[in-house]
């Protein structure tokens, strides 16, 4: 099997800003409860609330929502101020997927007031407890479960996930997948994929058809060859000693080994 090299720049990019699920609404299942935490307020982004809601709806459509009807939701709003309108918007979205808003956890007094006026139980956290809570979530993110998306990822959609992302469908041009772990596309990758976004150079991008706009692994960027080869073969992109390379995904792990000392994959 020949090794296919990606043409063009292998220039280093500056490490991306911290891209974690913090920027999107995050869902975790804890026992019988679903914990949904909201991202912190970003004052520089106009209309952030609408974007968050859109992202959230997209995500709910695409993830496995195999909870029982009426499963309780604990909404973690952290430092974000929520008014009654926003709470009821969230409640409507929850109800569409069979979730019941049960408890609102917040650090802001106004949010607590708004939530209780709307008739929900509220837990107001103090600063100390949140510090511990923060550490917990940081650790949780390292152990986060892979995200399985069973759909086409369309233009304009950005998926950030603090672990591996698996897509059963195509990733269209204009769509971006940013994962702390590996990116697996069971379909055609035409958009941008970033594996190992927090610096993991062992991360891989694998697709049944690799026709990406751009590939990023850890801090490296590669763009697709100008004349795409026309073959139906699953391929994998990885960091070699000379930057990002593409290889047939078949038997990749037999022919390659990740050398931790050198921080790249070596062809055996």
């Amino acid at each position: 099997m020949t090794e296919l090299e990606i043409s063009g720049e292998k220039s280093e990019v500056k490490p991306l800003k911290i891209l974690s699920s913090k920027e999107q609404i995050n869902l975790t299942k804890k026992g019988k409860i679903v914990i949904i935490s909201l991202p912190p307020l970003n004052k520089t982004e106009p209309n952030q609330w609408q974007r968050i809601l859109d992202d959230f709806k997209t995500r709910l459509q695409k993830i496995d929502t195999s909870w029982q009807l009426g499963t309780k939701v604990h909404l973690q709003s952290n430092d974000r101020l929520l008014d009654t309108r926003q709470i009821s918007e969230l409640k409507t979205i929850f109800e569409q997927v069979g979730l019941t808003l049960d408890l609102i956890i917040t650090r802001r007094r106004q949010t607590a007031v708004a939530a209780s006026t709307a008739g929900y139980s509220v837990r107001q956290e103090t600063l100390t407890s949140t510090l511990i809570g923060e550490n917990e979530t940081e650790q949780n993110q390292d152990l986060a479960e892979p995200l399985y998306l069973k759909t086409t990822i369309r233009s304009g959609v950005e998926i950030y996930h603090p672990s591996t992302v698996v897509v059963f469908g195509d990733v269209n041009p204009g769509a971006t997948i940013i994962a702390k772990g590996d990116v697996f596309i069971w379909g055609t990758l035409r958009g941008i994929a970033h594996a190992g976004a927090m610096g993991n150079r062992a991360a891989l991008i694998m697709a049944l058809r690799l026709e990406p706009t751009q590939l990023r692994i850890a801090e490296l960027v590669a763009r697709a060859p100008d004349n795409p080869h026309d073959h139906n073969m699953a391929e994998v992109a990885y960091i070699s000693s000379e930057g990002i390379k593409i290889y047939s995904a078949f038997n990749f792990n037999r022919h390659h080994d990740f050398i931790s000392a050198k921080n790249y994959w070596l062809k055996l």
Partner: protein
């Protein structure tokens, strides 16, 4: 109850309004009661294409503010029985109306019509949200251009996350001779990317421009035209009739390509 169908595209200038005017007329010709709503506030032009500009007295904004009843704002098209238009205001911006108000208007109209078509403004901002809020079905108009297809993909994603029940594709301004020369994106390529069902292909034709300028939808014209036929077919397909697709390549065929196709070679 009426079927509420939004006609949208994301990118501007792909022919949403032209399709709305012609398709609305074609559905009315099938004997249905049709209302076209111009949701492009501030830049209305559906009334121009229908040749109804001089008959517009009140707009949807006047009806909402209580200056007139909703019935009064609706303009009847005298040439096509059953066709009605609810014009947009030209002097207001796209934020002049909220999605809730739009929903209310459509709910009021719903019992009186078989079909309500909403002509959506370009973009994905407030005007887009207004236009899609009450619709159960969407028709995506795209032209065989990279930017138009990309924006269509984005819009499909947004509609999917809003739980739109049916999303179908109209490919507008196709030039068969260019597709044959491999100079234009083919319908197959568009469908491969967008993965939504096709409802019609409208070929490019100069007569569309002249009919728009005259304010006479092409489907009204006595003279048969390919785009007119294509739109009439879309109207029938919307109504649940199975109509075979026009052979747009037919006019491009030379004896040689016909013989080749006859013997099972591809037309390319």
């Amino acid at each position: 109850m009426s079927r509420v169908i939004v006609i949208t595209s994301g990118k501007g200038g792909v022919g949403k309004t032209t399709i709305t005017a012609n398709l609305g007329t074609a559905v009315a010709q099938l004997g249905k009661k049709v209302c076209l709503i111009d949701a492009d506030f501030g830049l209305r032009n559906l009334d121009l294409l229908l040749g109804l500009e001089q008959r517009v007295v009140y707009t949807i904004i006047d009806a909402l503010s209580g200056e007139c009843t909703l019935e009064k704002a609706i303009v009847k098209d005298k040439r096509t029985p059953g066709l009605h238009l609810l014009p947009a205001a030209q002097n207001r911006t796209k934020d002049a109306i909220t999605p809730e108000q739009m929903k209310e208007v459509i709910e009021q109209l719903s019992p009186n019509f078989d079909y309500i078509f909403v002509d959506c403004p370009a973009g994905i901002e407030m005007g887009f949200r207004n236009a899609i809020v009450a619709a159960q079905e969407a028709l995506i108009v795209t032209t065989p251009e990279v930017a138009a297809v990309r924006d269509a993909d984005r819009v499909v994603g947004l509609l999917e996350s809003e739980n739109m029940k049916s999303i179908r594709l109209i490919v507008n301004r196709l030039r068969p001779e260019m597709v044959q020369m491999d100079e234009m994106i083919s319908v197959e390529d568009i469908m491969d990317l967008l993965v939504i069902p096709l409802i019609g292909i409208v070929p490019d034709d100069k007569r569309i421009i002249t009919s728009s300028n005259r304010g006479e939808p092409l489907v009204l014209s006595e003279e048969e035209s390919l785009p007119g036929m294509a739109i009439k077919n879309i109207a029938q397909r919307l109504d649940g009739v199975e109509v075979p697709y026009l052979d747009l390549m037919a006019s491009q065929d030379t004896l040689f390509t016909r013989i080749r196709r006859f013997f099972g070679f591809s037309g390319k």
